[in-house]
């Protein structure tokens, strides 16, 4: 285990090396690289569960109330004779959303790449606190386990939608899933938030304090900027969700009335008085909206880095990219009300939120144009990571543009909670963030596992996924604009929507193919960990610091002294150099100017 510790000469400042056992290396590891891998594998497992759920409820939407052997096998008592129950349909939708947003795209994406890349790219031996980092992962693991356990509760898992609006989520008599299922959901999320906060604090402290000599803030790769700002948004907004969850727990278990008032259900009047569900909506979306940027900003960072490296060009407008990350982060905290235009809040407040929401389109547009310009006159290396990055920009634009309809309160009245919304957010944050994650995995797999992923499987994975993503979510806009509400178990009670049934079948077929195609990726991923081709030190010929570490992982990252940094991260194809990339560790030549970016 510690063989390389002996063979490589370590410098003094991490002489804390002690013998590693299996447990300290693979399970309770404090090494950021191992923790990153743990996040990735846990996130992947949760992702498989989340995607399977979506495939099941898509089949129900396409072929409503038809017996299905899969349902019978997987859902058991919830699918008598193979016909899906309406309660479990809502539960599947709810848990799918929860898992994908929090467990896959927050923990899986941010947890993996912040942990892997922050120390490696800023030139640090490890995170500021390896111990907190380990605790953060294990809290995440615990919350994942509790979320999975909640699926097997007698009365059913939480089914009030991933936004868990009370009173539906507060009253077990309103819905079976609001009993033990919701309790476990809340406990799981509370632990998840604790995990996320510990992680975020660690990221922020590490980026501020542990940068190597010469690594000024304006020499940081955009990945680090994205992780850094993401962590800050997380610290600001996640505690608010925690308080919402705690207040909801009190309403549910201790009879307080924070969110409940004047309720008559199943023949009896409940004692609640004076609370307001709208308050919960405010608290929820105060996290809920920044959350989508917590999901998408790291993906943006990864994509910026991968695009520059594979275009063999500097990222276009480095400073504008940082400024737009900051602008998006700031605006993201003051737009939550656009989820609540028709919640009953004051219409004037709606006007304010329309204004701030549409402003976000400006930094987003700047980013999109800068990515496109980065490709211009490049020498594009079409590695799978690059394809996913280009795919990211494509879906981010397609999904982002419809945001100017949903952010406009007057238009939102009519498409609110229809499939138009589902199409919008899946493209702009679901698929895009997933693409960012895939891009990151294909790009940094050699760094994580010392082996390469099979690129041909990568190509097949990308192209089929790309076609399916558009096949699923593009037509969805149109059924939304025809007025079809989301979260309907079946549409057969509305003859009005009969002519949309065939669209739903098409969407489901694309979704099923798209889901199954992910097996190609899973196969590639797990086989390549053990049997992939051995990676060279810097396979993509990148400039950033992580590629100066040895392929074999060692505690402390660099065998000798930590390298010093002399330039920004994007000296690709710089005139005056023989090779088309100049690593950050190479000092400026005599008379060479560091770009005044």
């Amino acid at each position: 285990m510690s063989a390389h510790a002996d063979t490589h000469g370590h410098d003094d400042d991490h002489g804390h090396h002690h013998k590693e056992t299996f447990v300290t290396k693979y399970i309770f590891s404090q090494d950021h690289k191992m923790i990153a891998k743990q996040y990735l594998v846990t996130g992947t497992i949760m992702g498989v569960i989340g995607v399977l759920m979506s495939m099941m409820f898509r089949m129900q939407i396409a072929w409503p109330e038809e017996p299905n052997v899969l349902f019978e096998a997987l859902l058991g008592k919830w699918a008598p004779d193979g016909v899906m129950d309406a309660d479990i349909y809502l539960a599947l939708v709810t848990i799918h959303g929860t898992i994908m947003v929090f467990f896959v795209l927050t923990a899986g994406l941010s947890g993996t790449f912040s942990n892997l890349l922050i120390p490696l790219q800023i030139g640090a031996r490890d995170m500021a606190s390896g111990f907190l980092n380990m605790v953060s992962y294990w809290l995440f693991f615990l919350s994942s386990v509790i979320m999975i356990i909640s699926l097997f509760v007698e009365a059913g898992p939480a089914a009030a939608g991933w936004t868990i609006y009370p009173p539906l989520s507060a009253l077990p008599m309103a819905q079976g899933g609001s009993g033990m299922g919701m309790t476990l959901w809340l406990v799981s999320m509370a632990i998840f938030i604790a995990s996320s906060l510990l992680g975020s604090l660690n990221y922020v402290v590490t980026v501020i304090n542990l940068r190597t000599k010469g690594m000024s803030m304006t020499r940081l790769p955009l990945t680090i900027w994205a992780f850094f700002v993401t962590a800050i948004i997380g610290i600001i907004s996640f505690p608010v969700l925690l308080s919402a969850a705690l207040l909801l727990i009190m309403d549910r278990s201790f009879g307080t009335s924070f969110f409940l008032s004047d309720i008559f259900i199943q023949g009896e009047v409940l004692h609640y008085q004076g609370g307001s569900p709208v308050l919960f909506e405010h608290l929820f979306w105060f996290l809920g909206h920044p959350e989508v940027y917590i999901v998408i900003l790291p993906a943006m960072g990864l994509v910026s880095e991968i695009m520059a490296s594979n275009s063999r060009k500097p990222i276009f407008g480095y400073r504008a990219m940082i400024a737009s990350i900051l602008a998006i982060a700031f605006l993201s905290t003051i737009v939550w009300g656009h989820h609540m235009f028709i919640s009953g809040m004051n219409p004037f407040l709606g006007s304010v939120f329309t204004f701030t929401t549409l402003l976000i389109a400006i930094p987003s547009a700047v980013k999109a144009f800068n990515w496109i310009t980065t490709l211009w006159k490049g020498n594009l290396q079409m590695n799978p990571a690059m394809l996913f990055s280009i795919g990211f920009v494509s879906t981010f634009i397609t999904g982002g543009l419809t945001g100017i309809i949903l952010g406009d309160s007057a238009l939102d009245i009519n498409v609110h909670d229809t499939y138009f919304v589902v199409a919008h957010f899946h493209l702009v944050m679901g698929i895009s963030a997933l693409y960012g994650m895939f891009a990151g995995i294909y790009h940094w797999f050699p760094k994580m596992f010392g082996r390469m992923l099979n690129k041909n499987l990568g190509y097949i994975h990308f192209w089929l996924t790309a076609v399916c993503a558009y096949g699923v979510f593009f037509p969805m806009h149109f059924i939304g604009m025809a007025g079809l509400p989301r979260r309907y178990y079946t549409n057969s009670n509305f003859p009005l929507f009969d002519d949309l049934a065939n669209v739903n079948v098409i969407i489901t077929i694309f979704a099923l193919i798209g889901g199954v195609v992910q097996i190609v990726y899973l196969y590639n991923f797990f086989i390549s960990i053990f049997y992939g081709k051995k990676a060279v030190q810097n396979p993509w010929r990148s400039t950033t610091l992580e590629w100066t570490t040895p392929v074999e992982h060692i505690h402390g990252n660099w065998p000798g002294e930590i390298p010093h940094v002399h330039r920004w991260a994007y000296d690709y194809s710089k005139p005056g150099h023989d090779v088309d990339f100049v690593p950050q560790t190479v000092p400026l030549k005599d008379g060479e100017e560091e770009l005044q970016h």
């Binding site: 038809e66 609006y165 009173p167 309103a174 006007s351 909670d417």
Partner: protein, 357 residues
């Protein structure tokens, strides 16, 4: 059965993928090309062309969607006074979106094709250009400023309730899983109500205050009838969980929140009868009935009743997840002439006469 078939098809697709990979790998082994997992010139060329192909796919799916499902009932055929302004704004936004989408997707995919990598080529070192960035900051600013101003004007017009219009006051009352409407009666003032006053035994199902004089002439119905051309002010209430009163044809929606009263007002402009006669609606209804006849065939073969013929009606749908039967929480809306409305309302029981003593 369908599911089983789907699974079989998916398995075949998987096998096909498998074979394709093998072919790829074999082809590469023979050529002795680089197999280290990094893209070669050949990969760059292939994927460059695929990028252009994918651009074609995006355009194709856009055109197919527009042609096949582009009649977009939410952008035409509105039946309320504010409807056309909303639709107008929607159309303008859509045109902008489609324009930007077409251009940017072209640039993205075309650049990916045009500048696909070749060994020995060097990229242009182009890190910054303030002028360019200023342009694509300022243009979105101008476009969005226009949209914001237009949008906010529309929003304020819709949400501002003008009490001087003397609107018809109607309460929409939501419960798991149905809707009730309460008309204010001759005094056009809704009586006080609270769920604590609900008395099922006396049929006081909405919890009206029996002592309130304003409540006596209130009328509770299970269908929503509206006189055409008369402003209506809806007061929304829910007795249990959140619901949302969604009336897509009138471009109207508002949540019903337990513990508070929300409101939304509009003026219906087209009667149900007139709407049924519009060519677009007739076409849609014919199309739907064709589908229903098709869907009835297997039912009849099994000896069951065929599906009922569809006739157009305005609907109120629940559009906020509210529990098990959320998918079937609806109420029919009838827009009719003032005379028809007066005749209908006269037949309904007033609250004071509907109580069981």
């Amino acid at each position: 059965m369908t599911a089983l078939l789907t699974i079989i098809v998916l398995v075949f697709i998987l096998i096909a993928i498998w074979q394709m990979v093998k072919i790829f790998d074999l082809a590469q082994a023979k050529g002795g090309s680089d197999t280290s997992g990094v893209a070669t010139d050949k990969d760059n060329t292939m994927n460059g062309y695929l990028m252009m192909g994918f651009l074609g796919f995006i355009y194709a799916i856009t055109i197919v969607s527009l042609v096949k499902w582009g009649d977009l009932p939410l952008m035409s055929n509105s039946a309320s006074e504010h409807g056309p302004t909303v639709d107008n704004l929607m159309v303008i936004s859509m045109v902008i979106i489609f324009f930007v989408q077409t251009v940017t997707q072209f640039l993205l995919h075309y650049f990916a094709f045009k500048y696909k990598g070749e060994k020995g080529k060097k990229a242009l070192f182009f890190a910054d250009n303030n002028k360019l960035e200023a342009i694509w900051t300022i243009i979105p600013v101008i476009v969005l400023a226009g949209l914001i101003i237009y949008g906010l004007n529309t929003w304020i017009n819709i949400m501002g309730v003008d009490e001087s219009d003397d609107p018809l006051v109607v309460e929409l009352y939501a419960q798991q899983f149905n809707w009730k409407a309460r008309y204010a009666g001759a005094d056009n003032t809704l009586g006080k109500a609270n769920v604590r006053l609900i008395d099922i035994d006396r049929a006081n199902i909405l919890g009206l205050d029996e002592a309130d004089p304003n409540a006596q002439d209130d009328i509770i119905t299970t269908e929503l009838h509206l006189p055409v051309g008369k402003p209506v002010l809806f007061k929304m209430r829910s007795q249990d969980v959140l619901h949302s009163a969604y009336m897509p044809h009138f471009r109207a929606q508002m949540n019903c929140v337990p513990g508070m009263i929300t409101q939304f007002g509009f003026t219906p402009t087209v009667t149900t009868a007139d709407m049924r006669l519009t060519p677009e609606m007739q076409e849609k209804v014919t199309r739907i009935n064709k589908i229903r006849v098709e869907n009835s065939k297997p039912l009849v073969a099994k000896g069951e009743e065929p599906l009922e013929r569809y006739e157009f009606d305005y609907l109120l749908l629940c559009n906020k997840i509210c529990g098990k039967s959320h998918y079937n929480m609806q109420m029919k809306i009838v827009v009719e002439t003032q005379e028809e409305y007066d005749a209908w309302i006269k037949e309904q029981k007033e609250f004071k006469n509907s109580l069981i003593n």
